[in-house]
């Protein structure tokens, strides 16, 4: 946010409070510098327009994933989306396929409820493959790419009509745990979890999730990998079954 004002932009913001019959839209004229982000514009409204506007944000640098909204219908992180990228009136809506908490904020409880347990979020770094590791460390660590922003679930056309679908984020996460096994993660239990109707099979390859993801997680590709694994497992199980049955009878 630069301190000089270059232009006034009109924002059309989705408003809803619990107890309202229906959501409505409010327009605000916001003076913004040329580098301003959607989040800065929304915060201006909060400070100078309407203090009852509900906003969610935390890190301001696309790492916490809390500021997801739809700008002119497209899923974006408000903190790194520049106002200058849009012309005319800018519409801000909450991300889709989750209950509205207030205004442009959604209730993330169901999003997190879809994930399998446990939920480790630190992985092997993999960056700077040429870097040595100090003797007393096992390797370099880093956080998983996924910032749990929910933009993928919002973009998914299947999630738009099926609330039981666990969603791209949860499936991509499961695939990461299989790709890079970690303590406390039961491989078979994870595959069982993915092998449900509302799991990896519910995806229809629209790839909208990968398009929407601000963190290069590529959930759609990971779901395809998951399917491959599940198919392998099924065919293996298919071959094993007669021997297994014999084994069980023997014991």
């Amino acid at each position: 946010m630069t301190t000089e004002t270059t232009s006034t932009r009109r924002l059309r913001v989705h408003r809803f409070k619990r107890g309202d019959d229906a959501p409505h839209v409010e327009e605000f004229d916001v003076p913004m510098g040329e580098d301003a982000t959607v989040l800065e514009a929304l915060r201006w409204i909060q400070l100078h327009g309407d203090p009852s506007l509900g906003l969610r944000h935390s890190c301001f640098h696309a790492s916490c994933g809390t500021c997801g909204v739809r700008v002119n219908g497209r899923e974006r992180l408000a903190c790194v989306t520049k106002i200058a990228d849009f012309s005319g009136t800018i519409t801000v809506d909450p991300i889709a396929n989750l209950p509205v908490l207030l205004d442009v904020v959604v209730d993330m409880a169901t999003f997190f409820a879809h994930y399998p347990d446990p939920h480790p979020i630190v992985r092997e770094s993999g960056f700077l493959p040429e870097a040595a590791v100090a003797d007393d460390l096992d390797g370099h660590e880093r956080y998983e790419d996924c910032i749990e922003c929910g933009l993928c679930l919002s973009a998914c056309p299947v999630a738009a009509t099926d609330d039981s679908y666990v969603g791209p984020a949860a499936l991509a996460y499961a695939q990461r745990l299989l790709e890079e096994p970690r303590d406390g993660v039961d491989r078979n239990a994870l595959l069982d979890w993915a092998d449900q109707d509302a799991g990896a099979w519910r995806c229809h390859a629209a790839f909208e999730c990968t398009e929407a993801c601000p963190s290069d997680v590529r959930p759609a590709q990971r779901i395809m990998s998951l399917r491959k694994e599940l198919r392998h497992r099924r065919s293996e199980q298919g071959r094993e079954v007669p021997e297994q049955a014999a084994g069980e009878e023997a014991t």
Binding site: P99, V100, T161, D163, E211, R218, A220
Partner: protein
């Protein structure tokens, strides 16, 4: 969880309970469009959603065609005259046009379905857009060829 909480003191804690109660009110799920209309929403969308929507539309279309086809075949029960009457209608340009539409539906649905199956088996998942358009280009060629033959009148 509630065992560690103190008993509710009505006067002191009323505000908290009020807030909690207020939050339990129903809230709408945020949707871009209500219900299955969302399947056909192509605003600001990418190739993948186009493919998805195409498959939904053609899927419905093909199912509808199935019923139509059965209705058509039932004309056979009416005997030779009824069938000949039908054939006259079936060779009108409008009907031939519908046949072309049918071929389009079969090609679009089948080829996109092929893309989904290939990508799901690990075949170029990172190039799925290119795969979609190549298959559609192939389908377009077959469609034009079929349309020429359908309208061209070859037996």
């Amino acid at each position: 969880m509630s065992e560690t909480r103190a008993p509710f003191d009505r006067e002191r804690d009323a505000g908290v309970e009020e807030i909690l109660r207020g939050r339990r009110q129903p809230a709408p799920v945020s949707r871009k469009l209500p219900g299955p209309i969302a399947w056909f929403d192509l605003r600001s969308r990418n190739t993948g959603h186009l493919a998805f929507s195409l498959n939904r539309v053609t899927g419905l279309g093909l199912v509808a065609y199935l019923y139509l086809h059965l209705a058509v075949l039932s004309q056979l029960l009416g005997g030779e005259d009824a069938w000949n009457d039908f054939l006259e209608v079936a060779t009108t340009p409008l009907f031939l046009g519908l046949d072309v539409l049918l071929v389009f539906g079969l090609l679009a649905h089948g080829l996109n379905g092929t893309r989904v199956a290939l990508v799901g088996s690990g075949f170029v998942p990172n190039r799925q857009k290119a795969l979609f358009w190549s298959l559609m280009a192939f389908g377009a060629i077959v469609l034009v060829y079929s349309a020429l033959h359908i309208f061209g009148g070859e037996a």
